[in-house]
Amino acid sequence: MTVSVRSQLQADARRFAAARCNSGLEQLDREQAFNRAGWTAAAEHGLLGMRVPVALGGTARPLGEQLEILLGFGEGCEDNGLILALGAHVWACQSALLDYASDDLKAAVLPGLARGHVIASHAVSEPGAGSDVSNMATRARTTASGYVLDGDKTWVTNAPIAGLHVVFASTDPSAGSRGLSAFVVPAASSGVRVTTIEKMGLCTAQMGSIELREVEVPSRNRLGEEGQGFTILQHCMAWERAFLLAPMLGSMTRVMRRCVEQARRRRQFGQAIGEFDSVSNLIVEMRMRVELGRALLDKVAAQAATGRAFHELASMLKLHISEAWQQTCVDAVQLHGARGFTRELGLERELRDAVGGRIFSGTSEIQRRIIAQLMGVRR
């Protein structure tokens, strides 16, 4: 891909997002409401089908093109909650379906997901088991026609608006993480009940808890083999951790540009505040975080494109971007002083959103643990 193509993809996505995804954002954030117009616009722009084969309603773009588009989208779209909703739909859910669903199941569900008519959620965490999936309590009991699921999932992004849930459950509790299996559960299934959870940030992304009570799931809705759930989960999480936060490099760039403007125009003690080292240094650090994140993103993408495992790099990238995002937003609020702390500029919303980045998809602490495990430092 040439530099001009990369720039064009980014610029097109940035312009589209700025024009169609930010309407009424302050009110949506206050009301914790889903940005339906932004979702529809993203679908029309093809953002939800970039990974899906053309025959199944997608556009099957090369990964490099997908990332350029997402970087531009992140810079133009000020609704970080919409970016999270889109990312969970694409990276966590579509990854599971693309690589582990039967051909019939793919044909049944992927066209709707690629076009955005159906929204997907990825149900892993439980009240008693977040990242510790070996203690998952949700059970899938075998029946003559398939399975019956019982359990409770929580902190599930998209759950209140999803048409289908990718649910992880234990088919063999005695086997721990090797006894997990994954299922596609239509949201309209009997025995499924969803409640909404309010959050401090990323407010337009709808998060919920899912009750599963005697939910019948046919065998054809199982992903992969029985007992392959942990592998499927690790596969999905690698894609999610690697690329869900890619748009936030664009988001950070947008915030940084605002800081540059502030540094040029705001005057104190007879000069622009950018002339003070304490201000210009903050902006230099913002730029460094973006550029280092971009370099690591390209490295992870190159590895992912080979088809080989990239779990360790994915955790490093997730850790870097999420911490960089939060620090950039903290510094942006500080640099704008009292106005930065008010709601007037929207920077406090950016900061509330960024705090979530260090928590979802495995906390920063969990990412460090995974990296240490994959390095063989600890079990």
């Binding site: 990974r51 090369p62 990964l63 490099g64 690589d99 582990y100 070996s134 993480s177 090797r178 992969g224 083999e225 007992g227 392959q228 942990f230 592998t231 499927i232 690790q234 596969h235 992912a304 494109a305 080979t306 088809g307 080989r308 495992a309 779990h311 360790e312 995974i370 495990q373 994959l374 063989g376 079990r379």
Partner: protein, 93 residues
């Protein structure tokens, strides 16, 4: 070829995992899962090593725990992946 692959994998398992169980000797049939030598994270580590060392891609159907049960099974998986010639097949580029 299998003997060479086996030697490389054995060395890796010895270096990276067997130190946790000095009471056991690694042979073709040692139950790596049952003895707790390889857990789920361990399988991910071995997968990354295999793909790097042998320039193969292990696909979704390869990544089941039974394929990492013992040294002999792991070698068979590598031989099968090599014969599929997946090394040059990009998943998404």
């Amino acid at each position: 070829m299998s003997a060479e692959i086996q030697a490389v994998v054995r060395q890796h398992l010895d270096d990276e995992f067997m130190f946790m169980r000095p009471d056991l000797v690694l042979d073709d049939q040692l139950d790596l899962l049952g003895e707790g030598i390889l857990d789920s994270i361990g399988i991910l580590r071995v997968t990354a090593f295999i793909e790097d060392a042998f320039s193969v891609v292990l696909g979704p159907s390869d990544l089941i725990s039974e394929n990492f049960r013992d040294l002999g099974t792991i070698v068979a998986v590598i031989v099968a992946a090599s014969s599929r010639g997946q090394a040059d097949r990009p998943a998404e580029s």
